[in-house]
């Protein structure tokens, strides 16, 4: 019997050194050629080489921003893999098991699982590159399970090793060994137990949130980056270090996050679009500098790739527990904007928006990510590079400055925005300071001036409110019950809502892209509903608290929380919603 799937989930697990990703990469290439959308994630228990690691891939005819409920195909390179993640195999799923590691541990896999045992170790002696060899062999078996043509599988393998021709022959041989094992189980070419639906293919990229955001910032004109390595934000540092120099920019690996944020402030002072990227512990260290951007009115963009906290927490695990710090952190009151994309396409778009908004408000703008969004890779359409507009805010040209009789760096204006001249411009000399100051930037504690300056800075947010990215709606627009979440919850919420609708439970969904300031549309969404479930990965319901403290109908906000470091699967989220709805 052949199952026809439009959504397939695969997992490969073994010791970190097994290069589990290779099988997943090869599989992804076939699925992509067949027009499937991809979502891929890694589950790394240990950050150093060795230790159990799993790579997961979802291919689906609909775009998805998260893994499915369970996996259809599981390649387990050792017994520990079966023991730790075997329970994720779907009923009726397929497991390829490396039996040279010992007999299949019993009691970890669902009953109806088909297990194909292969003593991979037998081939090890014949090949120096055992890991690759194992991967190609396993790939041969799963290609047959998924009813791929043998040539189709061989083609992606050849492409993968195109740069290393000496490896092609051996890996093709391993692939054929895999076909032979499949034959023994009766999985003939094009006739396996699973068949995929036909899906039209289109030009796509496979990219993580970190890379998409970093690329967005580059295109938005960021020419200065400072960072300090930290999981899960490091890819931004790596991307910038690699690319920014091509465009005449500078990327610096600072001695710590205090240095990084202050370097960015210094660069911003000269008019260069500046970015820092870090995670919770680094955001904590940057709080003073971010407040300084608010007080001294310097454009600054900060990426927070959130990880599980508090303190060092679980560096490789996803969480959304910095929301309170981003919205309220730092000493004193200062205007700020917090944007939250839900997938790599949005990360690109909001990176551009964040950069331009920072120029307008001359203050800090956060791009809030979380580990899953930051590091998981998703297929998305190509970004619209030519559609990106560089908006300089109130930055003065020399010609404009020359027409002014006098220049006040902190001129108090109706909308709070002050025209900006930068060092190097004759006639634009100013004093920039985080001390309270007068319009010229001279330190002042005059009560009238103080109040006027606080009000001026606050007004800047109202001035850009209409330009803040709006939320994305899904589900039943008119439903009395709502669901709301950001970042890593975005994709899984949509999927849960779709599936619940099939069962006759309709929900109205909102994914706000601007968390702070809270937009009127967000408040209206909540106020017009009987209840709204706010889904988030933290213990205290940080987003729900913010919404409840601002909205009028605050009794209608209810939290659905998770803080074990693992994203929701759609099924889990559905269960939680159903449970809430039945009590």
């Amino acid at each position: 019997m052949t199952a026809v799937l439009s959504d397939v989930n695969a997992m490969v697990a073994g010791q970190g050194g097994d290069g589990s990703l290779t099988v997943i990469t090869l599989l992804g290439n076939v699925l992509a050629r067949r027009g499937f959308h991809l979502y891929s994630t890694r589950n790394v228990a240990s950050r150093i080489k060795g230790g159990p690691a799993a790579a997961l891939l979802r291919g689906s005819s609909e775009p998805r921003s998260g893994m499915g409920d369970d996996v259809d195909i599981f390649v387990a390179f050792d017994d520990e893999a079966i023991e730790t993640v075997g329970s994720r195999v779907a009923p009726g799923g397929f497991v390829v098991y490396d039996s040279s590691a010992g007999p299949l541990p019993s009691g970890f896999l669902p009953e109806e699982t088909t297990v194909i045992e292969i003593p991979f170790g037998r081939f090890a002696v014949r090949d120096l590159r055992r890991e690759l060899f194992k991967n190609s062999l396993a790939f041969g078996v799963i290609s047959r399970i998924l009813s791929f043509a043998d040539a189709e599988a061989a083609a992606v393998l050849e492409e993968r090793f195109a740069a290393r021709p000496e490896l092609v022959a051996r890996n093709l041989q391993a692939l054929r060994e895999g076909f032979a094992f499949a034959d023994e189980h009766g999985f003939a070419e094009n006739a396996g137990p699973i068949r995929l639906t036909d899906t039209p293919s289109e030009d796509r990229i496979l990219i993580s949130g970190n890379h998409a955001a970093a690329f967005g910032f580059l295109v938005a004109g960021v020419r200065f980056f400072a960072g300090y390595p930290i999981t899960p934000a490091t890819e931004v540092l790596e991307f910038m270090t690699r690319h920014i120099g091509t465009y005449g920019g500078a990327a610096i690996q600072a001695e710590d996050e205090l240095a990084a944020v202050n370097m960015a402030l210094g660069a911003s002072l000269t008019g260069v679009r500046s970015l820092v990227a870090t995670s919770g512990p680094g955001i904590s260290l940057m709080q003073e500098g971010i407040g300084h951007a608010g007080a001294a009115e310097l454009p600054l963009v900060v990426i927070d790739a959130q990880r599980s906290g508090p303190s060092t927490g679980m560096p490789t695990k996803s969480e959304q527990s910095d929301i309170g710090m981003l919205v309220h952190g730092g000493n004193g009151d200062f205007p700020r904007i917090v944007l939250a994309p839900g997938d790599p396409s949005q990360a690109f778009d909001l990176a551009v928006a964040a950069t331009n908004l920072a120029q307008w408000i001359q203050g800090p703008v956060y791009l809030m990510l979380d580990q899953a969004l930051s590091q998981d890779s998703v297929t998305v359409p190509l970004f619209d590079v030519t559609g990106v507009e560089i908006d300089a805010g109130l930055r003065l040209t020399q010609r404009q400055l020359d027409t002014l009789d006098e220049y006040r760096r902190y001129a108090i204006t109706e909308d709070g925005l002050s025209p900006l001249a930068v060092p190097g411009m004759p006639g634009g000399m100013s004093l920039v300071t985080g001390n309270e100051h007068d319009e010229w930037g001279r330190v002042s504690t005059d009560p009238g001036n103080r109040a006027a300056m606080m009000d001026k800075r606050a007004r800047k947010i109202d001035a850009v409110k209409d330009d803040l990215p709006k939320g994305l709606r899904f589900g039943d627009e008119t439903g009395p019950v709502g669901i709301l979440g950001v970042g890593m919850e975005s994709g899984v919420m949509r999927e849960a809502v779709e599936r619940l609708a099939v069962d006759g439970i309709s929900l109205a969904g909102l994914q706000p892209r601007t968390i702070w300031p809270v937009l009127d549309e967000t408040l209206a969404f909540i106020a017009s509903r009987e209840r709204v479930y706010v889904v988030e990965h933290n213990h205290e319901g940080q987003l729900a608290q913010i919404l409840a403290s601002i909205g009028e109908a605050n009794g209608s906000v209810r939290s659905i929380l998770k803080y074990d470091g693992v994203p929701f699967t759609p099924g889990e989220l559905i269960d939680r919603i159903v449970l809430e709805e039945s009590t």
């Binding site: 020419r223 465009y247 005449g248 004093l431 001390n435």
Partner: protein, 275 residues
């Protein structure tokens, strides 16, 4: 010409050493004929951290201890500016000390002037890491121990001509792209720690010593250590790396950010992610 802010009157106590530092800096900027609009003076937090208000140039008040990374960012972003970082000994040697070591190491081409008075003036006289009679740090020895260091000098506000010369030399070193110019100035706080009499007695002018070779790093190190053990404080040009060449730098502030001018290249970057 557009009118801008009027420089502020110094807020310092009469007799404060910081007046001397400002006079030397203003003099050096004038001697080198550096236009005010191309001059960016960044200062830390402290009595010393108000110097930028008095000069009429572009001024920036950094966070306490963060003047070096801020100046480094400004200089990286626009190396065509004359970037001058200034601050106190508390700012530079206590809360900001970590940055000093790394700035020596990176050797960016800007000037850093530390106004050392042995105490925290602004917060009313607590000990700093250079307070004599306590366990102290010598930033000059620290700088000499970093291989990338290219310029170290120490001035004294009681020797104003030398101080102006040293300031000019530091600015010139940095402006020529030879690297980080570090100038510590003995700048007494007459209110909380009047070290004028002690420092006048203890200072020793290496500029006046014909036998001293400021281009010999190990000799400089030995000499400073020896003087330290004799309770003498060397002033003058302590070290200049003779191999420090004049470099030019890419200027991000002058780079094109219009997407239209980079479309092809951006598409290339994006193509690496194609599947």
């Amino acid at each position: 010409m557009t009118a801008t802010y009027r420089p502020v009157e110094p807020i310092w106590c009469a007799g404060c050493g910081h007046f001397g530092v400002e006079a030397a800096l203003a003099g050096a900027l004038a001697d080198l004929v550096i236009p005010k609009h191309e001059t960016l003076v960044l200062a830390g937090i402290g009595c010393s951290g108000t110097i930028q208000n008095n000069l009429g140039a572009y001024g920036y008040h950094a966070l306490h201890g963060r003047v070096l990374p801020t100046a480094a960012g400004a200089w990286e972003a626009n190396p065509d500016l004359t970037v001058i970082a200034a601050g106190g000994d508390g700012d530079g040697y206590a809360i900001g000390m970590g940055h000093l070591i790394h700035t020596f190491r990176r050797n960016p081409s800007f000037t850093y002037i530390v106004m050392n008075n042995g105490i925290y003036g602004l917060t009313k006289g607590q000990n700093s890491p250079t307070r004599q009679g306590t366990a102290t740090i010598d930033a000059i020895l620290l700088g000499l121990s970093v291989l990338e260091t290219t310029f170290i000098a120490r001035g004294f506000t009681r020797a104003p001509d030398q101080l102006r010369r040293l300031t000019t030399a530091a600015l010139t070193h940095a402006r020529e792209g030879r690297g980080f110019a570090f100038l510590e100035v003995l700048s007494p706080c007459v209110t909380y720690n009047d070290t004028y009499p002690v420092w006048e007695a203890e200072q020793l002018d290496l500029d006046a010593d014909d036998g001293y070779d400021p281009t010999d790093r190990s000799a400089a190190f030995t000499r400073v250590v020896d003087l330290q053990s004799q309770n003498r404080i060397p002033i003058g040009l302590i070290y200049r790396d003779p191999a420090a060449e004049s470099r030019s730098f890419v200027n991000p502030a002058a780079s094109s950010i219009e997407p239209a001018s980079h479309v092809e290249s951006y598409m290339d970057v994006m193509s690496r992610y194609r599947i």
